[in-house]
């Protein structure tokens, strides 16, 4: 240090020593690249390394296992599995179907989720609470129930909606659930809450002045939305689309229930089959998920590329930022009617079917006769079931802790990705997105593999489930975190620094509160989906760590659809309350609405 300062520099006052104590001034010949920016004191580097280590551990360990399984046969490394996976008859059609389905359902969920979020956050549309409910409820209904409920609503013969449409002579509006269109529609509606929550956070951060100035330029409300509002939330939007497409490619509840009967085989029905056949073809499943992984990475690179000029999306500024709804003018009522309709279709009908199912000993098409058989037995059964209390408790603990952990962790990761200006920080985002392509079952197997060999007593405890959930939901967390942090203008952090705030102060008191809408939305999403998480839970739970989703699965396996529907109804009610509370609390943290 001394030589560094001494060399040929006449100015060398008492301050120098002090400076040397302060630290961050490496000698010039020591590590040329080590010191890159004034904004990155060493502590932040340490944190960065810790974050990277945790992330790599969580993500790469199962991934290596996966790759190893995919690329080895009994005899060692081999590409045989790849050809086995892709040489199945009908692969091209399946691929086409898959993409049609994935993009179709992504389109449905993106459009509906974005529209809902926009009108919920940024407009003065009446009936906002309805929109809000409409947006979250489908997330809460267990997937298989949602799909079944929709079969009962939309199937050609017994579908309530189709029967209604026929009776009023609107046959041409019928949509068959058992078709690619129906599949995309139903799956899209089921997944739209994910988009809704993402966009909800993004729209919260839009500076209304930008829309107002577009209005003053004479733009109509639709073109304001198209040319200003949406481009400004592009990172969130593209992120959402990416997640939706990948999810669509790997979702199998809908393709299985609706696709196979109609002959619409999709790619993931193959993974599903590979995983649900005897003996399970983990190797092939692994190949499929590696393909999916490559696709995810490609998609993510694309998203990162379109979003690369981050400052163009920074809308929470420190000057004149004043959140307020946009006056829809004459669009107010038409929009509201449209969304009331959506509400009826996506929330009221499926939930009604759910309630209906829960009140019947077996399913009957709604009719007067059926009313005689109504019974509350299913609810009694539900409360009598042994272990339900424990399962609810475990699920609650896991949901809350893993959602909290994921959101806190991904917020930090997002900060590194977007704000640290560290080289290669983008890679963290890619890394955190990997689990998106990993089927839950495979993740479960990988975790068993790892923790059976770990000296730490993690196997068979809640902790292993916690690790599984955190890993599985990292990709969602990172999307929520990056898209909301991307909208926070850098100068707000600058001004905190100028106030003398350390990194921690800045992060805790400025960054996190400003990201609050995204953090809360992500938290809500993870809480809800982790209550439903089955595919890795079922491998990892044990007597003491039963979770609710296993109970749900058992009910389904046992054909107790009535009780299951009852559970679904109770979940909808309970989680709605939780979500409500979360938002009430969340609203205290961030920028206040007007």
């Amino acid at each position: 240090m001394g030589d560094a300062l001494g060399r040929g520099h006449p100015r060398r006052g008492p301050g120098m020593t002090q400076l040397a104590d302060a630290g961050p001034a490496p000698s010039p010949d020591a590590a040329p690249g080590a010191e890159r920016g004034p904004r990155r004191p060493r502590a932040v580097y340490v944190l960065g390394v810790v974050v990277l280590a945790i992330l790599a551990y969580l993500v790469l360990s199962p991934l290596f296992y996966l790759a190893w399984r995919g690329l080895t046969t009994g005899e060692g490394f081999s590409l045989a599995n790849i050809s086995a996976a892709y040489s199945v008859e009908g692969t091209p059609e399946m691929l086409v179907n898959s993409f049609v389905f994935a993009f179709g359902s992504a389109a449905v969920s993106t459009v509906s989720g974005t529209a809902l979020a926009f009108f919920c956050v940024r407009s003065n549309a009446p009936l906002k609470p309805l929109l809000y409910a409409a947006s979250i409820v489908p997330l809460i209904i267990p997937g298989i129930l949602f799909t079944i409920a929709w079969v009962f609503l939309l199937s050609e013969d017994v579908g309530v909606i189709n029967i209604l449409l026929r009776s009023v002579g609107l046959d041409f509006l019928q949509i068959d659930a058992f078709s690619l269109l129906g599949m995309a529609l139903i799956d899209g509606m089921h997944l739209s809450p994910l988009v809704f929550l993402l966009m909800f956070a993004a729209f919260k951060a839009t500076d209304p002045a930008l829309e107002e100035s577009a209005l003053m330029s004479g733009a109509s409300v639709p073109s304001v939305i198209r040319k200003v509002t949406l481009p400004l939330v592009r990172p969130a939007l593209f992120g959402a689309i990416l997640v939706m497409v990948v999810r669509g490619l790997e979702s199998f509840e809908t393709p299985a229930v609706l696709g196979i009967p109609s002959g619409n085989w999709v790619f993931t029905s193959r993974i599903y089959q590979a995983l649900h056949t005897y003996p399970v073809r983990y190797d092939i499943a692994a190949i499929y998920s590696i393909s999916l992984l490559l696709l995810t990475v490609a998609g993510l690179l694309f998203v990162q590329r379109v979003n690369r000029r981050g400052e163009r999306f920074q809308t929470i500024s420190g000057k004149g930022f004043r959140p307020r709804p946009l006056d829809l003018g004459r669009w107010r009522w038409p929009v509201s009617v449209l969304f009331a309709l959506y509400f009826v279709v996506v929330v009221v009908l499926p939930v009604a079917i759910l309630v209906w199912m829960s009140l019947l000993p077996y399913y009957q098409t709604p009719s007067i006769d059926a009313l005689d058989t109504l019974t509350l037995r299913n609810y009694e059964r539900m409360f009598d079931m042994p272990g339900v209390v424990d399962a609810v408790r475990n699920s609650a603990i896991l949901a809350v802790t893993s959602a909290t952990a994921v959101m806190l962790f991904t917020s930090v990761v997002a900060w590194f990705v977007l704000k640290s200006r560290m080289r290669g920080a983008r890679f963290l985002e890619t890394l955190a997105s990997f689990p998106l392509a990993m089927p839950g079952l495979v993740l479960g197997v990988a975790l068993i593999f790892i923790y059976l060999r770990s000296p730490l007593p993690i196997y068979g405890t809640l902790l292993i489930l916690f690790i599984a959930y955190v890993t599985r939901y990292l990709p969602y967390g990172i999307r929520y975190a990056t898209s909301s942090l991307g909208q926070v203008s850098a100068e707000l952090e600058d001004s905190a620094q100028m106030s003398g705030a350390t990194w921690r102060d800045t992060f805790r008191r400025v960054v996190v509160p400003l990201m609050a809408p995204g953090i809360v939305a992500g938290w809500v999403y993870i809480v809800v989906v982790s209550v439903r998480e089955l595919s890795s839970s079922i491998l990892l739970y044990s007597q003491d760590t039963r979770v609710l989703s296993v109970t749900i699965w058992e009910l389904w396996e046992n054909g107790e659809t009535g009780v299951l529907a009852a559970v679904g109804v109770v979940m909808v009610v309970a989680l709605m309350i939780l979500v409500g509370v979360a938002y009430k609390l969340g609203a205290r943290v961030g920028v206040r609405d007007l």
Binding site: A209, L210, L215, M216, S217, G218, R234
Partner: protein, 377 residues
């Protein structure tokens, strides 16, 4: 052209008691004639921006009426409220509100690519945008992203975007506050030219008195949401209706006194520092308490060694001096008060020097004494 009638707008205040309301605009009424340049002037937080936003249709007034060219844009009683994008007004936002996801050119071209102007031919768009950019001297930055502009460049961009529409009514909210004097001047000139050549009516918000006075056909001085005085610049400056306006529009010296008698030359006011003759009064008669107002630049500074005594001459000593470019400002201590005066920069007096001040009666006005002079902001 523009009539604003009994406009009121209050905001909810969410502190302690729930029912507090901030009366941002409180019964504001004014008329702007076709082609006029109308200025809203007032201290920070007095409701200028809110008034402008109400006219623009971005804020929904609580009561009142806004009429442009016989079109009712808003009327509380008649339940009319035209949407902002249908009012066809141009506006510069105080916070600029330029779109970070577009470059400079696209920001300015936007108004020509949407709404009713959607069909503007491409060549015309280019030409008009370039013209607007040149006016604000940003022509060479057309391709740069808006986020990479300096503060002043952003403000000019906001101005260009409003100018490119050439609207009938232009609403400008402190459009030049971040610009240097040279640029301000050339843009003021440009604004005036547009106004004259295209008959654009302008409502201008500024905190800069000299800007307000030099550019406007009419000025409304606002205070706490209300219009304190409305008139042409000369009236506002030379015949302020109340001490608030006198004080706000340029610096003014206030000397407390009582009106003693009316003479052919005007009124005689007795002050603690001696009797003063004033040529004009407003709202005070003989026997009333009053304040005598005189502007610093009207006070003649006589070196004390020259003639002393005489009518309306007070003596004191220089306390501080301030160099403001084209002039020197002095604070002069009188026995019982303090006066500010301004002289050409060349005539330098140093602190502590005794001086005589001549207050020409023609430039002295007696106004009613305000209860509490310091208005809350």
């Amino acid at each position: 052209m523009l009539q604003v009638d009994a406009l009121c707008k209050a905001f909810k205040e969410e502190t302690a008691s729930k029912h507090d309301r901030v009366h941002a605009v409180d019964d504001v009424t004014f008329t702007v004639e076709e082609g006029q340049f109308f200025t809203l002037l007032g201290p920070s937080g007095c409701g200028k921006t809110t008034t402008l936003r109400c006219i623009a249709g971005l804020e929904r007034p609580d009561t009142g009426e806004i009429v442009v060219d016989d079109h009712v844009l808003f009327s509380h009683d008649r339940r009319i409220s035209i949407a902002a994008n249908e009012r066809n007004l141009g506006m510069v936002f105080q916070s600029y509100a330029i779109w970070p996801h577009m470059n400079v050119f696209d920001n300015v071209a936007f108004p020509l690519r949407v709404g009713k102007r959607r069909r503007t031919p491409k060549a015309e768009v280019t030409e008009r945008v370039e013209r607007a950019l040149n006016v604000v001297e940003l022509g060479h930055l057309a391709g740069r992203y808006a986020t990479k502009l300096s503060g002043g460049q952003q403000q000019r961009l906001a101005l260009a975007r409003a100018l490119v529409i050439e609207p009938k009514l232009l609403l400008l909210d402190e459009p030049l506050s971040n610009l240097d004097a040279k640029l301000r001047e050339s843009l003021r000139f440009e604004l005036k030219r547009l106004q004259r050549e295209q008959g654009i009516t302008t409502v201008y918000v500024t905190h800069d008195q000299s800007e307000a006075l030099s550019m406007s056909n009419a000025v409304a001085v606002m205070k706490d949401g209300r219009i304190s005085q409305l008139g042409d610049p000369f009236d506002i400056y030379l015949k302020p209706a109340n001490p608030f306006v006198a004080d706000f529009v340029g610096t003014t010296n206030f000397i407390d006194g009582v009106v003693r008698e009316q003479t052919p030359d005007g009124w005689v006011v007795h002050t603690a520092d001696g009797p003063l003759t004033v040529a004009a009064t407003s709202g005070v008669g003989v026997g009333d308490e009053c304040v005598v107002c005189v502007r610093p630049e009207h006070v003649e500074v006589l070196r004390d060694d020259s003639s002393t005594g005489g009518d309306n001459v007070l003596t004191g000593e220089v306390q501080t001096r301030l160099f403001v470019g084209e002039a020197m400002e002095y604070q002069v201590r009188l026995p019982n008060s303090q006066l500010q005066c301004r002289t050409p920069a060349a005539a330098r007096l140093s602190s502590g020097k005794p001086v005589s001040l001549h207050l020409p009666p023609a430039h002295c006005t007696a106004l009613p004494r305000p209860e509490a002079r310091a208005g809350s902001r």
